[in-house]
């Protein structure tokens, strides 16, 4: 039976933890609050160490807070991250996405910085500033950076944040062998700016109910033995992991059987492991390829998603080619799988715009299988802690109660 306006806006007959108010996806004030309360406070990956392998290599990145960052491997081989922001007049320092430089010089007035972030040259310093400005006070803003857990470059722009290990907790233990057996090396990168809310991408990555969407996933997993035996596990700080299974890649018409016999060091052949880290990251190992999603939320209805693919450093040429082909044929911008997920969250946002007249969004599946939506519920529990608001009633004003 269709619903009238009152019925449409009525709370579902579920616990408040099992649905969210659609305005958490559309409200601009909430989005700005998320930026202050979450994005500027938690750890996130901005790139991988293999994107800056040599001394002087730099990589321009965008942090989820919106800030432009410059990740630099110093002459001492240490990786540091700075605001990509000249101390003089605020110009962007590095314009290219990546490069190599022993000195980073602003194109505007030629102020220069070394790879440790020290200001090493101010043009006509004495003439212009006499002794009023010192180079030692004009260094770059360095942000908390740690390289690890698979060689990823983790950043937190809050100087007072806790340690990375505390934030990650035991959530990545499930991939510990695979992330440490051999160093990873990036093989693919692309970005999509999607007109949708970042949490909808995270939701999609953490609920496997949407396997019904993908022809590829239906064939290799959903209809295969072991699929329903998998479970979703929750970890401290809103993180989630999903049990593995042996995917039947040969069941999909477009797969190359040869590449799928290739495994991943420390992991099973054809395994499928998935870990979602609050609030914007997803690690997926579907051997022989590894994928990382990171997000930069740009607006309530716009998110930049960066997709990285990884292989194993030291691969033979044949194995490397197989991993690249596998990753890109499924998860590249022309892949069989990724565009389908993106279409879904674009459709959600198109429907939810003007969110105060959208229905509640359900996260209520409790079946004892991989399609239990506990991952999303766990995420919104963490979100509520940071935001000091419930996700099912963030403004405390949506009073239409559940039907008796």
């Amino acid at each position: 039976m269709s619903r009238n306006a009152t019925e449409w806006r009525r709370r579902p007959t579920l616990a408040p933890t099992h649905y969210v108010d659609p305005r958490i996806y559309t409200d601009r004030a909430l989005f700005e609050e998320e930026r202050e309360k979450i994005f500027k406070k938690v750890w996130s990956v901005v790139c991988h160490e293999s994107e800056a392998p040599n001394a002087g290599d730099y990589r321009r990145c965008r942090h989820m807070s919106g800030k432009e960052l410059l990740v630099v491997r110093g002459v001492d081989m240490k990786i540091r991250a700075f605001y990509n922001h000249c101390s003089h007049r605020g110009n962007l320092l590095a314009m290219e996405p990546s490069g190599n430089a022993r000195r980073i010089t602003c194109m505007f007035h030629q102020w220069s910085y070394d790879t440790r972030g020290n200001c090493v040259a101010i043009t006509r310093q004495k003439e212009g500033y006499q002794d009023r400005v010192s180079r030692k006070d004009m260094g770059l803003r360095e942000v908390r950076t740690e390289v690890g857990l698979g060689g990823f470059v983790w950043v937190n722009v809050d100087d007072g944040c806790g340690p990375l290990e505390e934030f990650v907790g035991d959530s990545l233990d499930y991939l510990k062998e695979e992330l440490s057996a051999k160093p990873l090396e990036i093989i693919s990168y692309h970005k999509a700016v999607v007109n949708s809310n970042y949490k909808l991408w995270y939701d999609t990555n953490s609920e496997l109910y949407h396997d019904f969407l993908h022809h590829h996933n239906r064939k290799i997993a959903l209809i295969q033995p072991g699929y329903w035996d998998r479970r979703v596990h929750v970890h401290d700080h809103g993180h989630v992991s999903v049990d593995s299974m042996e995917c039947r890649y040969d069941a999909y018409e477009g797969n190359d059987g040869r590449q799928r016999r290739l495994g991943w060091p420390g992991g099973e052949v054809a395994c499928h492991k998935l870990i979602d880290l609050f609030p914007t990251m997803t690690f997926i190992l579907r051997a022989p390829a590894f994928r990382l999603d990171t997000m930069v939320p740009l607006a309530p209805d716009k998110v930049a998603i960066e997709f990285r693919g990884f292989a194993v450093k030291g691969d033979s040429a044949e194995d490397r080619a197989a991993r690249v082909r596998d990753h890109n044929s499924i998860w590249g911008p022309f892949g069989r799988n990724l565009p389908e997920d993106e279409i879904a969250i674009v459709g959600q946002m198109m429907a939810m715009k003007g969110g105060d007249d959208s229905a509640y969004v359900l996260h209520g599946r409790e079946e004892p299988s991989i399609q239990n939506e506990i991952g999303m519920r766990h995420y919104y529990g963490e979100w509520s802690k940071w935001m000091e608001r419930g996700a099912s009633d963030p403004f405390g004003n949506r009073a239409i109660a559940a039907a008796e």
Partner: protein, 180 residues
Amino acid sequence: MTTTGTATREPRGEPTGSGFESLAEREKAVRELVARTCLTMDAYDFAGYLDLCHPDFRYTITTYSPELRKDITWLDHDFAGMETLLEVLPLHASDHFLRLVMSRHLGVYTVAYSENDTRAAVVSGLQVFNTARDGGVTELLAVAKYHDVVALEGGEAKLLVREVRLDTRMLGETGSLIPF
């Protein structure tokens, strides 16, 4: 290879090994073949597209990544792989089956023939547009070049190699399940 803009400037006289009656016919066949690959794909006529391809067909989509400072190959198929991919496409959810219509706009830049006249190397400029089914607004999806090799055998032109070399790396909101 010698490069020619028109058949009348061909320096070597009549075509030799390709089986075409005249230079003009050969040139027309090459240019029409490249254009028809776009027309068939625009029409979602995947079987028609494959009919234009040589049995030894090789298809790649490549780009240079300034982020990684190296080339990336996003799609790589031989004839059988391309055939399977196109067969299975309608089973997938694609923006280009749901919301958008894709159209390819092509301009042939150069055509260069091999010494034995059985191959033509063709470079074309390509723009790919999305037109929304709802309302009909058109947006540019991608800018690229086709680097093609056309096989000229028995008076027939077939697409032997196609490298889609992309300038655009951010492909709309959702990428593309359908190859260019």
